[in-house]
C-alpha cells in the first residue's frame, strides 16, 4: 500500500492525506458491507428466534435444549442449546401460520414452553427476528438431586472424620455421581446429574496450575532452611524474653504464611519452635499454638497465602494486588489483637525461664537452624521476588497468577537444575486430584440446584442489606469453618457468594468474597480440627512430650477466632 502511494507520485502532502482518507473510507464501506451481509442472509434465507434462560436466582442456565415445534408429533423445526450466558438463538427456514411452540428442557429444571402466535408470528415474518426475552426456569427436585446431596454430605463426613483420605473421599464421591448419571440415568432419566464433559467444565484449572507452580517454588525455598534460620534469630534477639519471642515468631509465621501456604509454614516452623521452647524451659506449645493461629490468619493477606484464597481469586477474578489492598491492613490489626490475647493467655508461661542451655545444646540448636544452601537461597529468593512482581504487575496485562507461578517454577528448574524427578515428586498430585474431584462434586450440587436453594434462603434472610450479608458470610462461614474443612466449604460457598454479590446492591465491590476469605481462614482457628495446619501441627507435637489436646487448643483458638472475625468484619465495613 505504501509503495503504491509512492508510485502515484502525488504532488503534495494534503493530497496524500486525502488519498489515504479516501482509501480508509472505501475500506470501511467494504468491511461494513461484509459485517451486515449475514443479517441480509437471515432475512433472505430464514427467521431468527432468540432468548435467554436463567434460574430462579437470575443466574444464566446453559446447556438447555430449546426446540421450535409446530405440533407435538411432528419433528422440531429447529433445535439449539443455550450458551454459558444463558442466551440461545435458532434459525427457522419457515414460519408456520397458526402457532409456533418453543420448548425448553434441561435436567433438574421443570420443562417450559411458550407459544408464538398471531402478532408475534407476523413480527417474526416481517422482520426476520423475534426476541422472546428472558425465561426463568424453575428448579426440579428429582432423584439426581438427592443422590448429589447425599454424596456431597458423605464426602464432607468422610473427610471430617478421617474415614478416608480427602482425595480418596472426593474421588469416590465423583465416581458415584458419574456412575449414577450414566448407568442409573440409562434406566431412570431423573438420575442423570451431569455428563463427564459437564463435570470437567467445573474444574478450575487456574487454581490447579497456580497450586502446582507454587508447590515447586516452595519445595526449592523450603530446602534452604530460611524460616528455621529466622526462627533461631528470633530466639537470639529475644534474649530469653519469651513474650517477645512469641510475638516475633507469630510475625515470621504470618509473613511466611502470606507468601507460602500456612500448612507448609507450620511444617517448617513447628520442629524448630519445639526445640526453642525446650531450650527456654517453657512449654513449647505457648509458642506453637500462637504460631498456628497467626499462620491461619496471616495466609489470607495474599492471593497465594491459602488454598482458599487461590480458589476465591481464580473464581471471582480477584488479583494479588486486590488482596493486598483490601485485606492486608485488616489482617495486621487482627494479628495485633491476637498477639495481645496470646500474651495475656500465656502470661504464667512467660515467667518461667530455665538457666539457659549448655554451649553444646546451643550449638546443636544453631546447627539445626542453619541455612542449608546459600546459593539456592539467593537464586530462589530472586525468582520468588520476580514471581511476586509478576503477581503484582501482571494484572496490568491480564497475566494470570498461575502463569507467573509456572514461569517462576520453570525458571528455578532451569537455573538451579535440581533433580527433576525429585521436583516432580514435590508436586503433590494427591492434592491436585483432590481439588479436581472436589470441584466436580461441588459442580454436581450446583448442577442439581442445591447451591441455588441455599443461595435463595440466604437471599431471603439478607434481602438487600449488604452489612447483614457481610456479617453472615464472615461469621457464618467462620463458624462453619471451625468444624468443616475450609477447602470444600469455600468451594461450596463460592457460587452462593456470587449470587449474593449479584443480588445485593453495593456488593459488586466484591466485599462478600473478602468476607468469605476471612471467614474460611479465621474460622480454622476455632477447633483443632478446623484446619489442615492445626492438624499437622498437632501431629508433629505429638511426636514429643507436648501433644496439643483438643481442649487446650479450644481455650486459645475459639476466643481468637471470634476476636479476629470481629476485627475482620469491622475492617470490611470500614474498607467498603
Amino acid at each position: 500500500m505504501i509503495g503504491r502511494v509512492k508510485n502515484l507520485n502525488l504532488p503534495n502532502r494534503s493530497l496524500r492525506v486525502l488519498f489515504v482518507l479516501g482509501m480508509g473510507l472505501l475500506l470501511f464501506v467494504v468491511l461494513t458491507g461484509l459485517i451486515v451481509r449475514p443479517g441480509h442472509a437471515i432475512e433472505k434465507n430464514g427467521f431468527l428466534v432468540t432468548g435467554r434462560l436463567t434460574d430462579p436466582q437470575g443466574e444464566p442456565v446453559d446447556g438447555a435444549i430449546v426446540k421450535a415445534l409446530v405440533s407435538e408429533t411432528a419433528p422440531p423445526l429447529a433445535e439449539t442449546r443455550s450458551l454459558t450466558d444463558g442466551s440461545w438463538s435458532m434459525q427457522l427456514d419457515a414460519v408456520p401460520d397458526q402457532e409456533l411452540k418453543i420448548t425448553v428442557e434441561r435436567p433438574h429444571y421443570i420443562s417450559q414452553s411458550t407459544i408464538l402466535q398471531g402478532l408475534d408470528l407476523t413480527r417474526l415474518k416481517s422482520s426476520g427476528l423475534f426476541r422472546i426475552g428472558t425465561l426463568a426456569l424453575e428448579r426440579k427436585i428429582d432423584a439426581g438431586f438427592w443422590v448429589a446431596v447425599v454424596v456431597f454430605l458423605a464426602v464432607l463426613l468422610l473427610i471430617a472424620f478421617e474415614f478416608l483420605h480427602s482425595a480418596t473421599a472426593a474421588l469416590a464421591g465423583i465416581s458415584v455421581i458419574m456412575l449414577v448419571s450414566y448407568i442409573g440415568g440409562a434406566y431412570q432419566p431423573d438420575l442423570i446429574i451431569f455428563s463427564f464433559d459437564q463435570a470437567l467444565r467445573y474444574i478450575n484449572w487456574e487454581v490447579i496450575f497456580l497450586v502446582m507452580g507454587m508447590m515447586i517454588i516452595i519445595a526449592i525455598i523450603e530446602g534452604t532452611g530460611i524460616f528455621q534460620w529466622m526462627a533461631f534469630q528470633a530466639y537470639r534477639l529475644s534474649r530469653g524474653r519469651s513474650w517477645l519471642l512469641v510475638l516475633i515468631l507469630m510475625l515470621i509465621t504470618a509473613v511466611a504464611s502470606a507468601l507460602l501456604d500456612n500448612f507448609t509454614t507450620m511444617l517448617l516452623m513447628v520442629p524448630i519452635s519445639l526445640q526453642i521452647g525446650m531450650a527456654l524451659g517453657i512449654n513449647p506449645l505457648a509458642l506453637i499454638i500462637p504460631e498456628v493461629l497467626a499462620s491461619n490468619v496471616g495466609g489470607i493477606t495474599t492471593l497465594v497465602g491459602t488454598p482458599t484464597n487461590i480458589m476465591i481469586g481464580a473464581y471471582a477474578g480477584i488479583g494479588f494486588n486486590d488482596f493486598l489492598a483490601n485485606q492486608t491492613l485488616g489482617v495486621l490489626v487482627a494479628l495485633v489483637a491476637m498477639g495481645a490475647f496470646v500474651i495475656y493467655h500465656y502470661r504464667e508461661e512467660w515467667r518461667k525461664r530455665s538457666g539457659g542451655i549448655s554451649p553444646t545444646l546451643y550449638a546443636k540448636l544453631e546447627e539445626n537452624a542453619q541455612l542449608e544452601d546459600k546459593q539456592s537461597l539467593w537464586k530462589s529468593g530472586l525468582v520468588f521476588l520476580l514471581v511476586l512482581a509478576g503477581f503484582i504487575l501482571g494484572e496490568k496485562v491480564q497475566l494470570v497468577p498461575a502463569v507467573s507461578a509456572l514461569a517462576g517454577a520453570t525458571m528455578l528448574l532451569i537455573w538451579l537444575n535440581p533433580d527433576i524427578h525429585k521436583m516432580i515428586k514435590a508436586v503433590d498430585w494427591t492434592t491436585l486430584v483432590f481439588f479436581m474431584a472436589l470441584f466436580m462434586i461441588v459442580g454436581a450440587i450446583q448442577e442439581v440446584g442445591l447451591i441455588s436453594i441455599v443461595a435463595g434462603w440466604m437471599s431471603r434472610i439478607v434481602g438487600e442489606n449488604l452489612v447483614l450479608g457481610t456479617f453472615l458470610v464472615v461469621f457464618g462461614v467462620g463458624t462453619l469453618s471451625t468444624v468443616v474443612a475450609n477447602i470444600p466449604l469455600t468451594a461450596s460457598m463460592l457460587p452462593i457468594v456470587r449470587f449474593l454479590t449479584n443480588s445485593i446492591p453495593g456488593a459488586n465491590s466484591l466485599v462478600l468474597y473478602y468476607a468469605l476469605s476471612m471467614g474460611a481462614a479465621m474460622g480454622g482457628n476455632g477447633f483443632l480440627i478446623g484446619g489442615e495446619a492445626n492438624l499437622v501441627t498437632a501431629g508433629i507435637t505429638e511426636q514429643t512430650d507436648y501433644p496439643i489436646s483438643f481442649k487446650e487448643f479450644l481455650k486459645v483458638g475459639l476466643p481468637v477466632t471470634y476476636l479476629t472475625l470481629a476485627v475482620g468484619f469491622l475492617w470490611l465495613l470500614w474498607r467498603f
Binding site: I159, E162, H165, S166, A167, V211, M215, I218, A219, E222, G223, D261, F263, T264, L267, L268, P271, I272, L274, Q275, M278, P307, I357, S358, T360, L361, K364, L365, N368, A426, V427, D428, T430, T431, F434, A485, I487, E532, L535, V536, A538, G539, I540, E542, Q543, T544, D545, Y546, P547, S549, E552
Partner: protein
Amino acid sequence: MKTILCPTRGGKESRPNQDFAINLAKERGMRLLFLYVSDIRFISRSALPIVVDIEAELDEVGEFLLAMAQERAVKAKVPTEVSVRRGIFNKVLKEVIAEEGITTVVLGSSSRGKRVTTDEYLQDLGQEMNLETGVEFIVVQDGKLVTRYDAIGKDQG
C-alpha cells in the same frame, strides 16, 4: 557391655523417667542408649501439599531432645549413646533391641501434664515385647518403678 534402652520423647515430663534409666545404668554399670522414634503416619491423611521433608525435620527435633538427655547422663558419668529412628514405634523398638543387643528396656509415662501414652498401654506393650524379645522390660511412671517384666515372666515392682 550390657545396654539399657530408654525410648523417650524428651520433654520435661520425661525427665524423671530418663533419670531412672540413668540411675539404673549407673547402678548396674551398663551402657545407656536413648532412643527417639518419629512416626509421620499422621501426615498421610492431609489434603494439602507436603513439600517439606518432615522426617528430616523430626530427626533434628529428636537429635536435640536426645542431646538434652545425653548431657544429663554424661554428667552422671554414664556411657550414653543416642539413636534417632523413623517408623512405627513397636517395630522399631524390636529392631533396636535386636541390633544393639539390648538387655533392659525402660519404658516411661508421666502422670503430670498431657500424656502421650497411658500406663495401661505401656504395661501391655512391656509385657508383649518381653514375651517377644525375651529382654527385661521396666515400666516407670514419674521416675518410679511400676512394673518389671524380666526374661522369664512378670514380677510386680
